[in-house]
């Protein structure tokens, strides 16, 4: 993070909500304008801090779902029942509102644009957010396997189709539905399993890197399945969100 290195310690910066976009009934994308923002590396997150009228503050970490660009970023937030921060961001925040962010953060769960390796991105639920940034910014072959409960729970359906169509064959997207499948879907609803993974995995000699993001149990399962089908554990990067978020 060049910004942190230049300025010393990381600090909170003001951000203005420029627009909001509903993604599902319980998830929303916030477009944030941040003066002087220099972009991010796909996979990174920001901390978002809210301050109540009485001075009480709370912050949570949210993945950046947009492609890197100056002065603007997008975070996609899933509302957590009884959460302290996410219900405000999903149901209340409106264009013009001010909040604070800290970032971009994290240099481990990132796909750098100069990394030539093909990537397999595996998303569970709203864990697709940082992987959406990787898809939007993909400069090298990228396959996304996205597990969602149902079509109405899946984020970014239209954006993923657009990114795939615009990629010239670089991006492939496969959905797995665990509770409700769309009409005419070739397989009944099912959890992610080794067969589904093997169908989208890169050949063992492809030197592929895998990024897995989702709820803890999903990430554990997917990472184990990857190892089972022969993926090098050293080339698996994971990001979990626990049940404590919100």
């Amino acid at each position: 993070m060049a910004r942190a290195a230049v300025l010393g310690r990381l600090t909170w910066q003001p951000a203005t909500v420029a627009a909001t976009r509903p993604e599902t009934a319980t998830a929303r994308t916030l477009v944030l304008d941040v003066d002087g923002w220099t972009g991010h590396v796909p996979g990174q997150h920001v901390d978002v801090r809210l301050t109540a009228p009485d001075g009480y503050t709370a912050y949570r970490s949210y993945s950046i779902s947009s492609a890197p660009e100056p002065d603007r970023l997008e975070v996609t937030v899933q509302a957590v029942t009884h959460g302290e921060v996410s219900p405000h961001l999903v149901d209340v925040a409106a264009p013009g509102d001010q909040l604070e962010i800290r970032g971009p953060l994290g240099g481990w769960f990132v796909r750098r644009p100069d990394d030539p390796r093909p990537a397999l991105l595996i998303a569970g639920g709203s864990g697709v957010a940082p992987l959406m940034s990787m898809v939007r910014a993909a400069t090298n072959p990228t396959r996304l396997l996205y597990s969602a409960r149902s079509p109405s729970d899946a984020l970014f359906t239209a954006d993923l189709a657009t990114a795939r169509a615009a990629s010239g064959g670089r991006v492939a997207v496969t959905h797995v539905y665990t509770r409700v499948a769309p009409p005419g879907w070739p397989t009944p609803p099912q959890r992610l399993d080794a067969d589904a993974l093997a169908r989208v995995a890169w050949p063992r000699d492809a030197d592929a890197v895998a990024f897995v993001c989702g709820p803890t149990g999903f990430v554990e399962t997917a990472a184990d399945l990857l190892v089972d089908i022969g993926h090098d554990p050293a080339n698996i990067r994971t990001e979990r969100f626990g049940p404590t978020g919100g």
Binding site: A4, R9, T11, Y59, L105, G106, W108, G217, G242
Partner: protein, 96 residues
């Protein structure tokens, strides 16, 4: 010091979540630093440790043996980083 917190619903997040709170203090990304667990002697990036963040401090545990490798506690005017559970903290060398 085996953990009683293990399990599918354990209230932990990835070490990635420490990027903000530690970056604010130290000004570099410690989540890519590798810690060597003083108990089981395995080394992992801090990003891969299990972090318990709903406590008075932040506690990072080794995913291999569940021992504590780092604690971060804020007092009114200091930040304390307890590293007794780690043998080595290995950082990427700065590039010119």
């Amino acid at each position: 010091m085996s953990s009683t917190n293990a399990g599918a619903n354990a209230p932990w997040v990835d070490g990635n979540a420490l990027a903000g709170p530690l970056g604010e203090i130290i000004g570099t990304d410690l989540t890519v630093a590798e810690l060597t667990c003083a108990n089981c002697r395995t080394s992992r990036p801090l990003a891969m440790m299990h972090v318990f963040d709903r406590a008075p401090g932040l506690v990072a545990r080794c995913p291999g043996c569940d021992d504590v490798v780092m604690r971060v506690v804020h007092t009114s005017d200091r930040v304390l980083i307890d590293l007794r559970g780690s043998l080595v903290l290995s950082l990427p060398a700065p590039t010119a």
